[in-house]
């Protein structure tokens, strides 16, 4: 589904290379996890895939079901079915969460040639999904992420994902800031979406999330590259020994 080949990325503002040849393929129906030390380029990879400004792709490619992602605007990538749950969800004062969600859902439906949801249909849908993530009506009414706790912001990301039903979901440290119960809720939200036509790329530092969302493949990223790929046991190894041994072995 997601195919990344030799992706090289530098910052636009300064001459600094961050991704140094990332190769990664995520198949439909699978969950891949990426772990790696701070600053290794995990968020950069997710931003570049989602289309954030400020990065320059100097080499390589990224496609989603064969469509070249790197040529598209962020909204076009979203319409193709890409979704990024942000490591740091953005607060937008003055834009109501509901308005935001509805505009997003209908924009994507429109882009795919589907009927827009009317207010009543939308409300019913959002209420049901919000309830399963324990997001109350008050949070839906407030401006996007404004005044949300860290954990509430992460749950709000998953709510957006549940509403948009993307086929390629990238979760950047969605577990950070979540308490144990919230982590379960989020994992349930993700697991509910798991199906054959959908894939996940889960960026995390901790095994704990992977206890709930069982990955098929685990990658280790270091200094802008995927340096090791393995099964779920790789995450356990990181949990026990840190990155020292793995990085020493590939050096």
């Amino acid at each position: 589904m997601l195919e990344i080949k030799n992706l090289n990325v530098s910052l636009e503002e300064e001459e600094k290379q961050i991704l140094k040849g990332v190769d990664l393929t995520v198949e439909a129906g699978k969950v891949h996890a990426i772990m790696g030390p701070n600053g290794s380029g995990k968020s950069t990879l997710s931003y570049v895939l989602a289309g954030r400004d400020g990065y320059e792709v100097t080499d390589g490619s990224a496609t989603l079901d064969g469509t070249d992602l790197l040529d598209l605007e962020p909204e076009e990538r979203a319409a193709e079915g890409l979704f990024l749950a942000f490591q740091y969800p953005v607060e937008i004062p003055g834009v109501g969460n509901m308005t935001f969600l509805r505009t997003a859902v209908n924009a994507q439906r429109k882009a795919r040639g589907e009927e827009e949801l009317n207010a009543a249909e939308f409300l019913k849908l959002v209420r049901a999904k919000a309830a399963s993530l324990k997001i109350d009506a008050d949070m839906l009414k407030r401006p996007v992420n404004v005044g949300f706790s860290g954990g509430e912001k992460k749950r709000n990301e998953i709510l957006q994902m549940a509403m948009l039903e993307p086929k390629m979901c990238i979760l950047d440290e969605t577990d950070s800031g979540l308490d144990v119960d919230a982590m379960k809720l989020v994992a349930e939200g993700v697991n509910a979406l798991r199906d054959e036509g959908r894939a996940f790329l889960v960026i995390t530092h901790y095994q704990r999330l992977l206890d709930h969302i069982k990955p098929d493949v685990v990658h280790i990223m270091a200094d802008g590259r995927i340096v090791k790929t393995g099964g779920p046991e790789l995450a356990l190894e990181v949990e026990e020994n840190g990155y020292g041994d793995i990085l020493a072995a590939v050096a």
Partner: protein, 429 residues
């Protein structure tokens, strides 16, 4: 006219152009000639006046104004849900046939011409009086000009809780319309009144509204200016607020080659509040100037100024806002914020925020910012599939909402939001 002016004097030329025949009772003749001598004493504003540093007054003071194609009448009914008493002005002239009957529970209402024709009238204590008081410490000659010539306008004395708003609706039909309109309002003790203003008025529009609010009175004002692109407008809102009164004025402006909205408020009674807010959106040949002067002259009063300007393709936004706190105005709470949102590099926002404080026990703050659309917010919205244009509009609406929130009545605020969203939509075609 009562005062001799040189024939080629630009003041005389303007007075001549804007004057209309009418009957003046004793008080009106006096007020008019007093205004004329004020004007003659001051002369017209020029480019070198400090108060006009950011806005070139020439088009407003020229002997003639360029024609402006008439606008379709599109805002007459925007406030229909509030069931206003609608009074219609066509090219600056009151049109009784197109208007509702001049009668409403809780107020006395008549045309300015009727009041002027009377020999004795309560309006003598307000007409040209608040304007004259507002000439110091800064001169506002275009307002004196208006007092000297105006024959059209509405005179209202609110004596109770007026449940329906009064709407002044303007229609612009003649391309050459160049006019002066003057409203006089007194809100008596304990009374409440809401005034709405809508419609494109004229090629060049000079408007004055004088509002006196007695103890515990409440006055709310919501105005929509636009969408006529080439119009010139100079408006003045003068208010005098007595004890425990509350005053709120909000203006939404879309388009306009040159708009200068001045608001001059004096808080003369203890515990009074004054909120003035504005949101404007313009692109290209758009120059919008909000000039506000609030004087605190009593104890424990509160004032707020909230102005937001969205500018694009060479548009200019100006804000001059002053809070003057007189020596006895202790416990003053003054707040002022002006912000420009530049949608490209060609536009500019010029701000001159000023505090002048002579009392020691006061809380006053002011801030002014100018910036582009927040890239991170834009990315967040577009990453959810919202187009860049829609996302920008959402952020524009969010930006101006702080000003819209100053509107007292939530339903009226929602009308403004809807109107603005509609206009943004339309602009994109």
């Amino acid at each position: 006219m009562g005062l001799a002016l040189e024939k080629d004097d630009p003041v005389a030329a303007l007075v001549d152009r804007l004057s209309r025949d009418g009957t003046d009772g004793g008080w009106a003749a006096e007020a008019r000639s007093a205004a004329l001598s004020r004007l003659a004493g001051m002369g017209l504003p020029g480019r070198r006046d400090e108060y006009w540093k950011f806005t070139n007054p020439a088009p407003l003071t020229a002997a003639a104004a360029a024609d402006v194609a008439a606008m379709p009448d599109e805002t007459a009914d925007v406030f229909a849900e509030a069931t206003p008493l609608r009074l219609v002005f066509v090219d600056g002239r009151f049109d009784a046939d197109a208007s509702d009957a001049l009668a409403l529970d809780g107020l006395e209402i008549e045309t300015l011409a009727t009041a002027q024709a009377a020999d004795i009238h309560w309006a003598r204590d307000v007409y040209g009086v608040l304007e004259a008081a507002g000439q110091s410490p800064v001169e506002r000659p275009l307002a004196a000009l208006n007092s000297a010539v105006a024959r059209d306008g509405i005179v209202i004395r609110a004596t109770g809780q007026v449940t329906r708003p009064v709407q002044f609706h303007h229609r612009h039909t003649a391309a050459s319309a160049d006019c002066a309109v003057h409203h006089v309002i007194r809100v008596e003790e304990g009374a409440a009144l809401t005034v709405l203003e809508t419609g494109a008025a004229a090629a060049r529009f000079n408007k004055v509204m004088e509002v006196e609010v007695a103890d515990t009175g409440r006055f709310n004002h919501v105005r929509i200016q636009g969408r006529d692109r080439e119009r010139l407008a100079a408006t003045h809102l003068f208010a005098r607020l007595e004890a425990e009164s509350a005053f709120k004025s909000f203006t939404l402006t879309v388009n306009g080659a040159l708009t200068r909205n001045e608001c001059v408020i004096e808080l003369t009674g203890d515990d009074a509040t004054a909120h003035v807010a504005g949101a404007c959106i313009g692109e290209g040949d758009f120059h919008h100037d909000d000039t506000v002067f609030i004087t605190h002259d009593a104890v424990n009063c509160e004032s707020r100024q909230v102005f937001k300007k969205v500018l694009k393709s060479g548009a200019t936004g100006v804000f001059q806002g002053k809070i003057l706190v007189q020596p006895d105005a202790q416990k003053t709470d003054g707040y002022q914020i002006s912000q420009g949102l530049l949608l490209d590099d060609d536009s500019q926002f010029l701000a001159k925020p000023e505090l002048e404080i002579y009392a020691d026990d006061v809380v006053c703050s002011h801030g002014s910012t100018c910036g582009a659309v927040d890239e991170t917010s834009l990315f967040y919205l577009t990453s959810r599939g919202i187009s860049k244009e829609d996302a920008t509009d959402m952020l524009v609406l969010a930006f101006v909402d702080e000003a819209i929130q100053e509107i007292e009545d939530d339903a009226l605020a929602d009308v403004i939001r809807a109107q603005l969203a509609g206009w943004l939509d339309r602009r994109r075609g």
